[in-house]
Amino acid sequence: MKRRVFAYPYVVWMILFIVIPMLFIFYYAVNVNGQFTLTKFIATLKDAGKWKVLWASVVMAFKTTLICLLLAYPIAYILSNMKKSVAGFISVLFFVPMWMNFVLRTYAWQAILEYLLPDLKKFLGLEGSVLMVLVYDFLPFMIMPLYNTLSKLDKSLLEASRDLGANSAVTFFRVVLPLSVPGIVSGITMVFIPAITAFTVPALIGNGMYHLYGNEIELAFKTLSGQGDYAVGSTLSIILLISVLVSTLIMNHFDKDQQQGGQLW
C-alpha cells in the first residue's frame, strides 16, 4: 500500500495541468467579464457555421483514418511476413521521420508544396493538400499497432486454415483480418483523435484559407486587440472535448469484443 506514494506526483500533475485547466474552460464558457451568463454559450451552440466546421473536421479525420488504414495494412502485413531482422530495419525507416518534431515536418511540407511542387498543390487543392500531409503525419501511428498485432499472430492458425482447404484469400479474410481487429481499432483511435483536433497542418498548409475546428477555436481566442472571445472559444473547446470523448467511447466499445491479440497501448 505504501507504493501509492509514487502516484502522488502524477496526481498533482493531473490536477494542475488537466483538472484545473478544464475548470477554467468551463468557467470562461459561462462568464463574460466576471459575470455569469449563458448568452454567449447558447449563441455559440446555435451558430450553424461552427457546426459545419466541426462536421468538416470529422469528415477530414475520417478520410485521413481510412487512407492511413488502407495504406498501412498492406505495409504491416508484408512486414509481419518478413524475416524479423529485415522487418525491424524497414520499420525503423518508417519511424525515422517521427524522430523529428511534427511541426518541423509540417513546415517542410509547406515549403515542398509551395516552392518545390506548386503544381501538385494546385492539383490537390488546399483540402487535398491538408489531407495528404495529415496522412503523412499519422501513417506511422497506424502502422505501429497493426504491425505489432500481425507479427504476433500465431502462424499455426494460418497453416491450419490452409490444411483445411482454404485458399489464401479466404485465409486472409476469415482468419488474419478478424484476428487483427485489435490492431485496427488501436490504429484508428491513434489516428482519428489527433486528426479531428488537427490544428498545425491546416494552419500551415491551408494558406490561411482552410480551417478545421482547432483553427476555429484559435480564431475565437485571438481576435482583434487580443481581446479574444473567451466565452466562444471555451464553448467550442467543450464541444470538441465532448466529440473526442464520444469517439473514444465508440472505439472502446469495438475494442471490448476483442481483448485477445497484441495491442501496443
Binding site: K50, V53, Y115, M209, H211, T223, S225, Q227, D229
Partner: protein
C-alpha cells in the same frame, strides 16, 4: 586515438577563432555622436521592452558604456502582450515601443509619463511632418516620440502584372485569381476594404464595416491565401503576383527580387508608427530620457536604421544614409503619399463590430 586528438584540436582552433572574432568586433565598435554629445554618468538599471530584432544591440552596449546604466532588454511579439505587461501592477519597464492605436489606449488609461523634451535635445532631428501625423494619436506629441514608421501598400511582381498598379481594385481583379495574398489581420484587411469603398479606416458605422466585410468575402475566391510573414518568401519566390504588405517588409522583398515593386494605392492607406514611450511606473526616468535622446542622435539613428531596415523619421539620420535608401519611396514616403494615408485609432467598444465582421469573414474563407 588519433581521431579523438584531431577532434579536440579542431574544437580548440574553432573556439580560439570564435574568441578572436568576438574581440575584433568589439575593438572595431568605434562610434561618434553627431553633436559631440557627452553623456553623464547616470547609473542604475534601465528595463526596455521592445519588438524582436528592432534595435542594433551594439547601441545598447555603447549606451551602457557612456552612462554606466545597466540595460535589460526584453522582447515582445505583439502590442497586446505589451499592453498586458504595462497594465500589470508590478510593471518594471522604463521604456517601451508600442504602436499608434495602442499608445492612444495607454494615454486614455493614464499609463504614460509625459516626455520632458528639455532632456531630449535630439528630438529636433525627427521630421516635423512625421511629428504632425503622430499627433493624430498623441496630441501635442506629449507622451511619445516616433521610432520607426511606414505605410501599408501593394507589393507586386512586374513580370506577372503588366498593367499599372495604383488602386486597391487590382486585388479584386479576376485576372489575377489565385495569385493574390491578403493580410491576415483585422484592422489591415478590413481597413483596406473600407478605404477602397471610400470610407474612413476608423469608421464607427456598422453598415460601412459590413459593406467592407462583404467585399472581402467577394474577394475570397481570388485569393492564393491569407498570411503575414509567410507572404514575404512567397512573393520573393514569385509564387504570387500581388500582396498586401507593410512597407518595411516590402523594402526587404524588393531588395531580394528586383522584379518586385511597392505602391501605396491612390485611394489611400494606413500609416503606422512604433513610438518610444515611458510608462508611468518607470523607476529610472533619467536614464529613459537619456536613452531616447541617445537613439535619436543622427549618427546612431542612421546606424540603427541600417541594421533594422525600417523607415526612420530621423532627418539627421536620413541625411547620413545612402541615396538608395532616402530616395526610395518605400523607405521614405513622399508628402503626397502621406497626404492620403491615415493612422489607426483605438476603436473603443466599437471593436466588437470589427471582431464580428472579421469572425464572419474568416469563417467564410474556410468554407468547406
Amino acid at each position: 586515438m588519433l581521431k579523438k586528438l584531431l577532434a579536440v584540436a579542431l574544437a580548440v582552433i574553432m573556439i580560439a577563432a570564435l574568441a578572436a572574432c568576438g574581440k575584433k568586433t568589439e575593438e572595431e565598435a568605434d562610434y561618434s555622436f553627431a553633436d559631440g554629445d557627452q553623456y553623464e554618468y547616470i547609473g542604475g538599471t534601465l528595463n526596455i521592452l521592445n519588438w524582436g530584432e528592432y534595435i542594433d544591440e551594439e547601441l545598447i552596449s555603447i549606451f551602457e558604456e557612456e552612462t554606466g546604466v545597466k540595460v535589460t532588454y526584453v522582447e515582445m511579439t505583439s502590442n497586446e502582450e505589451m499592453l498586458i505587461k504595462l497594465r500589470a501592477a508590478d510593471c518594471v519597464y522604463d521604456l517601451c515601443f508600442p504602436s499608434d492605436y495602442i499608445i492612444e489606449q495607454l494615454i486614455a488609461n493614464d499609463l504614460l509619463l509625459p516626455l520632458d523634451y528639455s532632456k531630449i535635445p535630439n528630438a529636433k532631428n525627427i521630421q516635423p511632418r512625421v511629428m504632425k501625423i503622430a499627433e493624430g494619436f498623441d496630441p501635442g506629441n506629449k507622451y511619445s516620440l516616433p521610432y520607426f514608421w511606414g505605410t501599408v501598400g501593394i507589393l507586386y511582381n512586374t513580370k506577372l502584372v503588366d498593367e499599372p498598379v495604383d488602386s486597391w481594385d487590382i486585388l479584386w481583379n479576376e485576372k489575377y485569381a489565385g495569385q493574390i495574398w491578403q493580410y491576415d489581420s483585422v484592422r489591415d484587411a478590413i481597413g483596406i476594404s473600407l478605404i477602397r469603398l471610400g470610407y474612413d479606416i476608423n469608421t464607427r458605422n456598422p453598415d460601412e464595416v459590413n459593406a467592407a466585410k462583404d467585399e472581402l468575402i467577394k474577394q475570397i475566391p481570388l485569393l492564393k491565401g491569407r498570411g503575414t510573414d509567410d507572404i514575404r518568401t512567397n512573393m520573393i519566390n514569385e509564387q504570387a503576383a500581388l500582396a498586401v504588405i507593410y512597407s518595411g517588409d516590402a523594402y526587404e522583398c524588393c531588395d531580394s527580387n528586383n522584379d518586385l515593386a511597392y505602391v501605396v494605392p491612390k485611394e489611400g492607406s494606413n500609416v503606422w508608427f512604433d513610438n518610444v514611450v515611458i510608462p508611468k511606473t518607470a523607476k529610472n526616468v533619467e536614464a529613459a530620457h537619456a536613452f531616447i535622446n541617445f537613439i535619436n542622435d543622427a549618427n546612431l539613428a542612421a546606424r540603427n536604421t541600417e541594421y533594422c531596415f525600417y523607415s526612420t523619421p530621423n532627418q539627421g539620420a536620413l541625411d547620413l544614409l545612402d541615396e538608395d535608401f532616402t530616395s526610395n519611396e518605400i523607405f521614405n514616403p513622399t508628402d503626397e503619399t502621406l497626404a492620403r494615408c491615415a493612422v489607426f485609432h483605438d476603436l473603443g467598444d466599437f471593436v466588437e463590430v470589427f471582431n464580428r465582421a472579421w469572425d464572419e469573414y474568416v469563417s467564410a474563407t474556410g468554407v468547406h
